[in-house]
């Protein structure tokens, strides 16, 4: 599964779900309210959420490979573990797990009261089958689980135990195997053993899982879903009896009109602009507001293969100083967000290096650096020229969703004497040109900033073969490559943090790309009806406002340690 999620995923998820996070008063609220609701009569509720604008795909592990679809399939299929609201993977289908001191052998003990939706018992055979199917069988051709190619063997010494050995100790093992997004969805052997083309397998049989919900009906043209609780679920009947993903126009308005129980704003994404304070005030009167640090950003890319001046570090730094990113946050996000950290990890990433240069707006510094690079105004027209005196203009590629950001960049660089010519194309064209490196400078938006820092390797290491619009062009740094390779095999968290800090420091100094701003995530939810709304950090696509753990438990408290 992909570790660094892409923009579509992020957008779609944001559009779809309430994320929910601890605003100042959440902590006290969740404990009391949740247990109070569960204390008396068992009142089971129906939760309604907005459908994604983007097609989630058929809700099997192979049909739904992006965030919104992945979330849908996670209600049906279970992974061995699942994060609770602290973000750490906790036991789910597995009762417990442990690893050997060398980190290469993992033993999972499974629950023994689990049944598939069709009534057949779940056993360790199903787990072994799923891993074999995805690593060596037909599932491996889909590329969905390519991240776990370091797994060596998967065996079951007894019907409730699975042992996994790996060729190399990996710090990301748990995320890769039991993570909420990338983790392996366990499938019933008795159904899938005869399936040779998993991506095309559809129908009732394809939707048999062990999860807390069964899919009652769905419509992939409108992206709507209707889930009904699986009352035989092994952790007890889910408190949320029905889960409706319905189509609405504007989610916030729909929430205000009582059509939804929770909605997000898509704060400042794709040129939609920030939510006005007046609307926040109006919504806050009836709903609880949740905010969370952003994990989506809009960034400025420099294509170093295009030569002077893009291959000059001082030029890129000068651009960073010329940009007033706080002003961008103010204008585009109404102040609800932060300038992007220069090390390419998001503000909420546990691996964020807190001591990175901030590149605060400093026009004089930008000007003198540009002078040093050799971009001076040769003919006195107020616009900087190339060292040979010929006119210099930056063609700035942007998708039509980001023209407002591009205009801001262009105007701010103008103040430093740089001329910018906007090249506006539609989103798919922009993605394709970014991926192929057909630009000098480009505005690119994408999410995944809270994901595991291993994603930095794909985006920045010169050894990376990744093909993506988030991949920078022409950046080569031997030290970065070395650090990236070393952290991938470092189990010790502190040592790994040190290595990732150094990687970020290199990126912040070299600036192959500059994150412009990271919008804060904002959601509103009706807590009178349901008190299990919760934001799960480090679970990027998660519209895990809707952490399925909480749908079952009915409250937002972290899972008790098993």
């Amino acid at each position: 599964m992909r570790t660094s999620r892409n923009r579509l995923t992020a957008l779609a998820c944001a559009a779809m779900l309430a994320l929910v996070a601890c605003s100042s008063d959440t902590g006290g609220d969740s404990g009391g309210g949740g247990t109070a609701a569960g204390g008396g009569q068992e009142e089971r509720v129906t939760i309604r959420l907005a459908a994604s604008d983007q097609g989630p795909g058929y809700p099997t592990p192979y049909g739904a490979i992006r965030g919104p679809g992945r979330l849908m399939s996670s209600f049906i299929f279970d992974t061995l573990g699942f994060p609770d609201v602290t973000g750490d993977p906790k036991p789910w289908l597995a009762r417990s797990w442990e690893s050997t001191p060398d980190g290469k052998t993992w033993t999972f003990r499974l629950r023994d009261n689990v049944r598939w939706h069709d009534g057949r018992p779940f056993t360790a055979d199903d787990v072994v089958f799923t891993f074999d199917y995805n690593l060596k069988g037909p599932g491996s051709t889909t590329g969905v689980y390519s991240a776990v190619n370091y797994i060596d063997t998967v065996t079951s010494p007894d019907p409730s135990t699975v042992v996994i050995t790996t060729t190399q100790a990996r710090p990301t093992f748990l995320t890769d195997v039991v993570g909420s997004f990338s983790g392996m969805s366990i499938m019933p052997k008795h159904i899938w053993e005869s399936v040779t083309d998993p991506a095309k397998f559809q129908g009732d049989q394809a939707l048999v899982g062990t999860g807390p919900y069964k899919l009652r009906q769905f419509d992939l043209t409108n992206n709507t879903f209707d889930f009904l609780a699986n009352d035989d679920f092994y952790l007890g009947p889910p408190k949320v009896r029905e889960l409706q993903i319905i189509k609405v126009g504007d989610p916030l308005l729909a929430l205000q009109q009582g059509e939804l129980d929770s909605a997000t704003t898509g704060n400042g994404q794709s040129g939609t602009g920030a939510i006005p304070q007046s609307q926040i005030d109006a919504l806050s009167r009836n709903f609880k507001m949740f905010t969370a640090p952003g994990e989506f950003n809009v960034a400025l890319f420099f294509n170093q293969t295009r030569g002077f001046p893009y291959d000059q570090k001082e030029f890129r730094q000068a651009v960073a100083y010329a940009l007033d990113r706080r002003d961008m946050v103010q204008r585009l996000l109404n102040g609800r967000g932060v300038p992007g950290p220069a090390g390419a990890l998001g503000p909420a990433n546990p691996f964020l290096n807190p001591r990175l240069p901030e590149y605060n707006h400093d026009l004089n510094r930008a000007r003198s650096m540009l002078d040093q690079v050799g971009l001076r105004d040769a003919n006195g027209d107020g616009v900087r020229d190339r060292p040979d005196g010929s006119p210099f203009a930056i063609p700035l590629l942007t998708s039509n969703l980001d023209t407002t950001t591009a205009t801001l960049v262009s105007e701010q660089l103008r103040a430093a004497g740089l001329r910018v010519d906007l090249v506006t194309v539609d989103q798919p064209t922009s993605d394709a040109r970014d991926t192929r490196g057909e630009y000098d400078m480009a505005i690119v938006h994408f999410g995944g900033l809270s994901s595991d820092p291993n994603g930095l390797t794909n985006r920045f290491a010169s050894t990376s073969r990744a093909q993506s619009f988030t991949r920078v062009q022409g950046f080569r740094n031997a030290e970065f490559d070395r650090l990236a390779a070393e952290q991938a095999g470092t189990i010790d968290v502190n040592r790994r943090k040190e290595l990732v800090n150094q990687m970020q420091a290199i990126l912040a100094d070299e600036l192959p790309q500059l994150s412009l701003y990271v919008p804060e995530q904002i959601a509103f939810a009706d807590t009178k009806k349901f008190n299990g709304w919760a934001y799960t950090p480090g679970c990027p696509p998660c519209g895990i406002s809707l952490n399925k753990r909480n749908l079952v438990s009915g409250n937002a408290a972290p899972a008790p340690n098993a």
Binding site: G266, G273, Q279, L332, N334, T403, T404, L408, S410, L422
Partner: protein, 293 residues
């Protein structure tokens, strides 16, 4: 003979109609003149550059910003003033272009008749049924949507109706006695067209020019709204697009100063061109005026 009398409502005398026509004409001239001044002297009149970050985000109208600011803090009044040029230039270029292309095809087909006419009219039929908006979107996106390219594009897609109207007029003209007499005296094609046909087509061409120009204004605004256009050139359509892209524009007051002015500008200019055209037509030819009434 009774039909015209019945068609004219009681009490609507010629004097009143003529007075109305004059008022309408004056209003049209005023509107078009106003926007022409904006288009020509935009840089001198606008207090800010169109993209300049002139103030804080979404400021209501004030002395500093007569029509307030948009999401980025750009001055709406300046954008409105500077956007006039794209609209007027395209009205002129695309309007004249449409009439030129359509006129050429129509006159040649009508004058030469025979296989020339047959071929040209079949071509006209083909162009007539081409879905124009998708074509404009496609070619506009590919060519970057500069005003010149867009005008040309509008001209080469919208000429068929003009061609047909002018062709039938030429067909009719060439059977008139003076034209036939000239032919009898051995007048050549060029002489005939220049002295007898084209002068008589002038008025009809004007009548064709007006809708073509108004249509071009609306089309350009529509294309800019859909994102086809030169992003460095301020346009009214682009202003509307930006305003609507801001999802909350109707939840706060901003729509009043950000969205309404460019819409009003488009409506006013299109109406102005039409009024001016109608009035000009009446003035130039009482016969047409009577005929059209």
């Amino acid at each position: 003979m009774t039909l015209p009398a019945v068609a004219l409502p009681a009490g609507r005398t010629g004097v009143v109609t003529r007075a109305r026509a004059r008022v309408a004409g004056a209003a049209g001239a005023l509107f078009v003149g106003f926007f022409t001044v904006l288009a020509v002297f935009g840089e001198q009149l606008a207090p800010y550059r169109a993209t300049e970050l002139a103030g804080p985000s979404l400021e209501p109208p004030s002395d500093a910003h007569l029509l307030g600011t948009n999401l980025l803090g750009q001055d709406v009044a300046s954008q409105l003033i500077l956007g006039a040029r794209a609209s007027l230039v395209i009205a002129l270029l695309a309007g004249v272009g449409t009439v030129l292309v359509g006129g050429m095809v129509g006159v040649i087909a009508g004058w030469f008749r025979g296989w020339v006419d047959a071929v040209l009219m079949r071509v006209t039929d083909v162009v007539l049924v081409v879905p124009k908006l998708p074509l404009l979107l496609l070619v506009g996106a590919l060519t970057g949507g500069r005003v010149g390219a867009l005008s040309l594009l509008i001209a080469v897609t919208f000429w068929p109706v003009t061609a047909r109207v002018l062709r039938s007029q030429v067909l009719s003209l060439r059977t008139r006695t003076h034209v036939r007499a000239a032919t009898g005296f051995g007048a050549g094609t060029w002489h005939q067209l220049r002295n007898h046909i084209l002068p008589d087509l002038a008025l009809l061409s004007l009548a064709e020019l007006i809708p073509a120009a108004s249509r071009a204004v609306a089309l350009q605004a529509g294309l800019a709204f859909l994102g086809v256009g030169d992003p460095s050139q301020p346009t009214w359509g682009g202003m509307i697009r930006d305003a609507i892209a801001y999802r909350s524009v109707f939840l706060i007051e901003a729509w009043k100063w950000w969205l309404v002015p460019p819409i009003l500008a488009i409506v006013t200019l299109v109406a102005g061109i039409s009024l001016l055209g109608t009035a000009g037509e009446r003035r130039l030819s009482p016969r047409v005026s009577r005929h059209t009434r």
